[in-house]
Symmetry: D2
Amino acid sequence: MRGLLVVLTLGMLSSGVLAQPIAIVGGTIIDGNGGRPIENGVLLIEGKRIIAVGGRSMALPPQARKISAAGRYVMPGLMDANVHLVIDAFPFTLIRYEGRYQELAIEAAQIALKSGVTTVFDSWGPHDALMAARTAISEGRVVGSRIYLAGTIVGLGGPFSGDFAAAAKESLPEDFTQRINALWQQNVGPELMAMSPEQVRVEIRKYARSGIDFLKYAVNAHASPMIQFSPRVQQVIVEEAHRAGLTVQTHTMSGEGIELAVRAGVDLMQHCEITLEQSITAETIELIAQRQVPCALLPHTDAALAFYKERAPALPFLAHFALDDVNERALLRSRAVIVLSTDSGVWSVSTLNSAFWKQYDAPQSLLVLGEGHFNWFVAMEQKGMPAMDSLLAATRNIARAYKVDKDLGTLEKGKIADLLILDENPLASAANYRSISLVMKEGSIVDREVLPTQRLLTAQTAHP
Amino acid sequence: MRGLLVVLTLGMLSSGVLAQPIAIVGGTIIDGNGGRPIENGVLLIEGKRIIAVGGRSMALPPQARKISAAGRYVMPGLMDANVHLVIDAFPFTLIRYEGRYQELAIEAAQIALKSGVTTVFDSWGPHDALMAARTAISEGRVVGSRIYLAGTIVGLGGPFSGDFAAAAKESLPEDFTQRINALWQQNVGPELMAMSPEQVRVEIRKYARSGIDFLKYAVNAHASPMIQFSPRVQQVIVEEAHRAGLTVQTHTMSGEGIELAVRAGVDLMQHCEITLEQSITAETIELIAQRQVPCALLPHTDAALAFYKERAPALPFLAHFALDDVNERALLRSRAVIVLSTDSGVWSVSTLNSAFWKQYDAPQSLLVLGEGHFNWFVAMEQKGMPAMDSLLAATRNIARAYKVDKDLGTLEKGKIADLLILDENPLASAANYRSISLVMKEGSIVDREVLPTQRLLTAQTAHP
Amino acid sequence: MRGLLVVLTLGMLSSGVLAQPIAIVGGTIIDGNGGRPIENGVLLIEGKRIIAVGGRSMALPPQARKISAAGRYVMPGLMDANVHLVIDAFPFTLIRYEGRYQELAIEAAQIALKSGVTTVFDSWGPHDALMAARTAISEGRVVGSRIYLAGTIVGLGGPFSGDFAAAAKESLPEDFTQRINALWQQNVGPELMAMSPEQVRVEIRKYARSGIDFLKYAVNAHASPMIQFSPRVQQVIVEEAHRAGLTVQTHTMSGEGIELAVRAGVDLMQHCEITLEQSITAETIELIAQRQVPCALLPHTDAALAFYKERAPALPFLAHFALDDVNERALLRSRAVIVLSTDSGVWSVSTLNSAFWKQYDAPQSLLVLGEGHFNWFVAMEQKGMPAMDSLLAATRNIARAYKVDKDLGTLEKGKIADLLILDENPLASAANYRSISLVMKEGSIVDREVLPTQRLLTAQTAHP
Amino acid sequence: MRGLLVVLTLGMLSSGVLAQPIAIVGGTIIDGNGGRPIENGVLLIEGKRIIAVGGRSMALPPQARKISAAGRYVMPGLMDANVHLVIDAFPFTLIRYEGRYQELAIEAAQIALKSGVTTVFDSWGPHDALMAARTAISEGRVVGSRIYLAGTIVGLGGPFSGDFAAAAKESLPEDFTQRINALWQQNVGPELMAMSPEQVRVEIRKYARSGIDFLKYAVNAHASPMIQFSPRVQQVIVEEAHRAGLTVQTHTMSGEGIELAVRAGVDLMQHCEITLEQSITAETIELIAQRQVPCALLPHTDAALAFYKERAPALPFLAHFALDDVNERALLRSRAVIVLSTDSGVWSVSTLNSAFWKQYDAPQSLLVLGEGHFNWFVAMEQKGMPAMDSLLAATRNIARAYKVDKDLGTLEKGKIADLLILDENPLASAANYRSISLVMKEGSIVDREVLPTQRLLTAQTAHP
C-alpha cells in the first residue's frame, strides 16, 4: 500500500496543490465546442479549474506559471464512453489477483490517463473494486483517469455465468466461481429476468443507490438478439435509475433491441451498431437520430475489418464485424449523436500470448486500453466522419451524454482543467491524436513517464 | 405403402361407411357440457355425426344398430392440447427414419387414438411430415387421432439448433443437420429475432398460409426466461395468424412472458405454469383468469414430484418441477381456464433405454404418449381439481380454445361422433379414465387391438 | 437383393464362364517380377488362370479370343495392402445403414476394382459384414475386388470407443453404440489389455478361427506411442495367428513399437513411417531392412505435405505428416521391403461436405478409395523410388507379404488372371497408372462402366 | 520468510540441540523388528540418535532427562511410502500459489508429522518446490516430516497434460499451463515414449542426478492398462536409476504391468492392487511374493468400499475399488511384502467443498493427509492382516524398501530417534494408532499444537 501513497508525487507534478495559476500560451486552442479554433490562444488555470480562455491579448496574473504551446494544439482531455478496467475476467487473472482487483483497475486507469484519456466510463466490472479505485483516484491517493462506473450490466451474470465463460467454471471450485460471480452481479443479475416489475423495482432501487455513477442494463442477451426484459420492466429500470439521479444506458444486439432502448428513454446506447445478423432498418436509424440518443460506437479500421473477414470462414462469430461497418456508415449519414468508446481494458501478458487472443488480435483493434481510442479516430476518419465531429464525439458529446458537461468535455471558463497538448493538429489527421506532448488532469500535469505506477498485468516479464 | 392402405379395415370397424345409424343405449352420458349426466341415456349417430342425444325414452330408427352401454359411461373423445407426434428428435431416430417422419407421426396418432385421445394438437414438429400424416388420416387412408398442427414454434430453431440439442450436431455432417433443422424451422426460425416487425410480418404471413392449423410462437426462449420477441413483433405475429384464421398460442417460461402473451391477445398458453425460478405473481394469475386465456397445464403427480425432488440435487434443471406445482395450484384456485396437455410423444426403444431418459423417467410421467393423459387426470385430482372440471379440461375447453367447438368437444346433436365408453365412472375417480371399453371416432368404432398398425419406434424387439 | 443378383452380368463380361481362352497380344508385358518387360508379348488365359506368357511367336489355341494390347502395357492387377471398405464409421452413416454394412463394403470393393485394384486387404472393419461381402464376391454373386480381411485391430475398440470417436456417443443411445462397437470388437477389443497372456491366448485362438484372412493387432494405441501389449502377450497373439495359418500385421505409432513388432515376428507392418514425434532411429531402420518385414507405407505427395504443413499451426495433429516423409525417405534408402497401402475407403457425400473432412482433404490424398493408390505412386516417385520398385510394391511384394503369391501378384503361368492393360507405360511415369484401358479379374473382363452397381455412399444426389 | 525461521522453536522442543540425553522409561517398546515387545523398557537417546534400548534395569546417564511412558507404547515413527505433498494440482490452487508450492509442501509435511508420520516419500510433485521443502526441513529451518522425493513419474505429463486434467487447460493461458507442466515433467515427461532406449538413457541419467531421492516410472498409463515403455526401455530406466544409487518404483494399472515391473527389477511397486478390470492372476501374485518386491497398498475400509459401490453405477470409474479389495486379500494370503501408503495430500478448502471431491469423499478414505494412514491400519485389520505385520508395513518394511533402514524404521541402537508414544496398544486394535501422546523426530519432541505453523490450504476461513 505504501507504493500507492507515493503515487501523487510520482504521477502528477502537482501544480494544483500549490494553487499557482498556470497559463498555457501560444497554442491553437480547440475548445471542444465545435467552433473555429483559437490560434495563439491563452488558457488560464487556477487550482483544478479553467478560469479563462482567450486570445493572445488576454492579461495573465503575474504569478502565473507559463507553459508554451506554441506550434501545438490544446484540446480537452479525451473521454472514453465504454471501458472495462478489469476486463481480463479469465480464471488465471481472477484467481491470481483475487482480493486485488482494485489494483488492476488503478493500473488500467493509469494506462488510460497516460494515453490522454482523462475520464473513463467503466460499464461492466466488479462493483466494489471499481468503487475503491474510483475513490483512490478521486481522493488523490493515486493518479489515474477519472472513473465513472456502472458496476455490472443489469440482467447479465458474472464472469463464470452462462453470459460469459460458463465452461471455464467446470474446472474451478464452486465456492470460487460463485464468489466471483457475486462480485459482478450484486443483486441485479440474471435472476431479475424471472421477476415481476415490482420485484425488479425493489432490486434496482437498491442497486441504483449502491454507489454507481450510471446504470447499464441488458436489453438483449450478451451475444444474441434475445431480449432480457419486457418493456414494462425496462421502464421500471429506467425510472428507478433516473429517480436516483443516474443516466441509463444499454447493451443491445439487434435492431429491435435498439427500438426498445430508445422507447424506454435511455440516455446512451453502447455499441448500437452491433446487430449480429440484420443491419439496422432505415426507420430505426431515423428514430435514433430524431431522438438524439447518443450512440457509443465501436468502429473497426479497414485493417481490422480485413483481419476479421479473413478469419470469419473458420470462426463464424467474427462475421458480424462486416455488418457493424454497414450500420456505422448509416448512423454517420444520419444526424445521430456519436460518442467514442472502445470496450477496451488491460489484458494480462498471458492472455495476450494465448490462442484465445489471437482470434481477436486485429491490427488497430479497439480492445487494448491505451491504444484503442487512437484507433477509433482512424476508423471513423476512414468511414468519413468529419474531423471536428470526431473530436466532439470524444469530448463534449460524452460529457453531455453522461450529464457531466457542467464540469467536463470542453475548455471553457469554469470547467475542470482536463486537457491535452498535441504536437500535431488532430483536425488535420486522426493519426495526430497520438502526438501527445502533455496531459493535464484537474489542473495538474501528469507525469506520464511513471505510469502505470505499479505494473501487474502489464509487467514486462512473464509471470514467475 | 401397401401396409397403410389396409389400415382402414384393420383400424376401424367402419359403421360410418355403410351409414347404418348407431344407437348407444343404456349408459350414463356425460356430454361434456358440465351438467348432470344423463343416466340410461341414448346417443344416436348417423354417418360421422351425432343426430340425437336423449333419455331412455328416445325413439330409435328401426335399422339402427344398438350398442349397449348399460352400466357404463359415455363421454366425448379425449383431446390433448399439446403433443409432439415426432418427439424423439435425437440423432439416432432422425437419421434412421429420415424421409419417413410421417410414418412416425401416424404411429403416434394411432397410439393416441388407441388410448382414447380422438384429437391431438401437435405444437412442434416437422411441418411437411405432420401435414402428410394429417392428410392420410383425414382422408381415411389410415386410422389415427385427428391431427391439428402448428409445425414449428415460431422463433425457435430445429432439433440441432441451440434451442435444442446443439451439441449433438458436432458429430454429424452439416448438410444433414441443416436439412433437418430446415424441416422444422421453415422460414420462421431464430432468424426472426433479428428482423424488424415488417420483415417478420412478411415471413409470418407466408407461414400462416403454409397449411398449419394454428400458430405457436416463442415468447420466451426454449428453457430460459429470455424473451424472443418485442411486444410489437408479437403483435405482428398474432395479427397475421388471426388474419389467416388461425388461433395463436405461446411457449412461455416466465411470469413476464405470460403477461406479454396475454397482452398480445393469444388464444391459448402452453405450460403456463413453468416459470423456472419465480412463481407467478398474484397479479398475473388474476390477469390470466380475468382474460380467460386457456392455460394448457403439464401437472405432475405426487409420485413424479417426489422423483424429481430426489434427483434435483444432482440434476439442477429438474428443480423447476416443484415450482410448477405451486403455480398449478394457484391457477386452480383462480377462475383460469385449464386444458389438458401432455407434451408427450412416442420415444424409441433405444431412447427409453438410455441414460438420458432415466433422468426424466418419473413414475406417472406425462411424457409418454398413450399414458400421459391418464396421468394428467390423476395429477389434477391430487391437486384438488373437481372431477367435472378435469373432464371439461380434456374435451370442451380444448375444443373452444382451438375454436373447433362447432364440431368437437361435446356429445351434442350435430357434433362429430368422437366418443368413449368407459367401464368405470370418470367422475368418481381419475383412475377410471383408463377403463376404456370402446373408442369411436367420426362415428366409426376403432379396432384398438390392431393399433398401431405399423410399429416403428414401438417395435418390441430392439433395433437390428 | 435382386439388384445384387444381376451384378454378374452387369459387372463382368464373363469370358471365364464360357471357358473360351483369351489371348492378350501385342502389348508390353510387365510381369511383376521386376525383370525386363516383354515387348509384343502374349498372355494366354483359360478360365480363371494364366496358362502361358511369352513372346509374339507363342502359338495360340485356334478358339482363343484375341484382345489386342498393341501399344499398350499389360501388368498384374493392383493390390492395396490396407483399405477400410467400411471407413465412414461416423454416426450418420452407421445409423443410416445399420444392417446393410455389407452393401457398403461391396460398393467400396467395386470402386476399388473399377480403378484397377483387383485385390484389397481390409485391415479394420465390421467383421461379419466384411465376411458377407467377401463371400458374395468370391462366390461370384457380385463383382468386386477380391477381399481379404482382418476384422478388427486386436486390442482396439469399435467406432464409438475411446480409440476412435468416443465423443460421438454422447448423443446416441447406449444400446446402439454398444451394438456397433461389438460388430467391430468381437471378443478381442481393449479388454485384452487387462488380461494375462493365457487369457489372451484363449480369445485370440477363437478369433483367429472366426473366418478372418489375416490378423492385425495394435502394438501402439490408435494415435499415441502408448503400448497396448507386453512382448509376451504379443508373442501369444503372433503364435496363435500363425497356428491358425494367418499372417500377422501391426498397427504401430513409434519407433519402439516397430522394434516390438519386428521382434514379435510379424509378417507386415502397417504405416510404419508414422512415429508421431521422433523419427525412426538408424538402428530400427536397419532392423526393418535386415529382417525384411514388409512395410506398408502411406506416403504423401509434395502437394499433400504442403497442405498439411499450412494447416498444422492451427491443427497440431497434422504435424506428424512432415515426420512421415523423413521416415519414408530413410526406409527407401534402406533395403526395406515396401508395399502399397492407402488406408482409404468410401466416404459419404455428407462426410465429404463436412468441416471434419476439410481438415484432411489434401490434394492427392490417399484417403479416397479409387484415387488413393494412384496418388501413392506419384508420392513415391517424388520421394525417389525407382519405377519398377513401385510396381512391385503394388503387386508381387503384397502377394508375398500376405502369402498369397502362389496365386496372385505376377503374370506367370498358373497364376490367377488378374491384370490391367494401360494405355501408357507405368514405368515411365507414375501418372500413367491412371491410363487404365482394361481390368481383368480372374480371367473375366470387368465392365467398369457399371461399377459400382449400386450407389449408396457415392450417390450423386445428396441424401433425401 | 521470517515466519519460517521461528518454526524451530515453535515446532520442536529441541532437546537434541542441547545434547542432554533423553530416557523414555516405563513404556512397552515395540521396536519395529517384529519380535515380542519389551515391557517396562528403556530407550536412551542422545542427540538425534538412539544410543540404547533395553529393559528396566538399564543404567541411565545421570544427566538424562526422563520421560515416563508408563502404561504407554513406544514405537518407531510412522512412514508413508506414497504421499503427494502438493496434491491439489487444480487450476485454482496452482494459480493462487504459483511460486509458493514449497510452502504448500511444508504445510503438508507438518500435517504429516503432527499425525505421527515422521517420514514421507513423495512420489509425484513439482520437483524444485519439493526439493526446497525437503532442504528447509532437513536443515532444520522448519519442522516437518522428513521428505524423500521422486519428482515426477517418469513418462507422465504434468497437471495439465492428457494424463491428468487436460480439459482444465482449455480456459487457461498456454504459457501458464506449459510452465506448470514443466515444473512436474522436467526432462522426463511423455516425450520419452517416442524415444529410443539410448535417447531415454540420456534423459534419465540427467534426471537421476537432479537431486531426487528415488525414481518412479509409469509402466502403465495414469488410468488405463496401456503400457508406457517397452521392457528394454524400462531396463534402461532401472539401470540408470540404480547407477545413480536410487531405488526405483512403479506406477502400474494391470497384471501385465506388474509382471513387467517385477521383471524389470524394480525395488517397490505403488498401488499394485489396482488392476482396473481384471484381478491379478495367481501366477503374478506368486511372482510378487517370490521376488519379495514390496507392494505399497492403498486399501479401502469396508465403509469406503460401501461408499464406492453405491456410487459406481452413476460413476463407473469408481468400479475398480471392488477389485482392489480382491487383489489386496490375495496379496495378503501370499507372502508378499506389504508397505503402508496413502496417495494422500492436503486439499484446499475449496476443493473439499467441490462437487469433484464429493465423488471421492468416502468415509475413512486414504486421500486426506494426516488421516489416511490411520484408515490404512483399519482397512488392513478388516482384511485380516496381523497387527504386527501392519506395524512393520508402516515402519521397517518401508525403510528397507527405500534402502534407508540403516537409519530409519526401527528402535535400535544407532538408529535415528524417530518415534511415537501411544496411549493405547497399536497391536491390540488398529484404531489405537490415533492415540498419539508424543511424537519425536530426530531426538526432538514435536510440539504438535503449533503444526502446521502456517496455514495455507488448511486455513479455516474460506478464501477471501
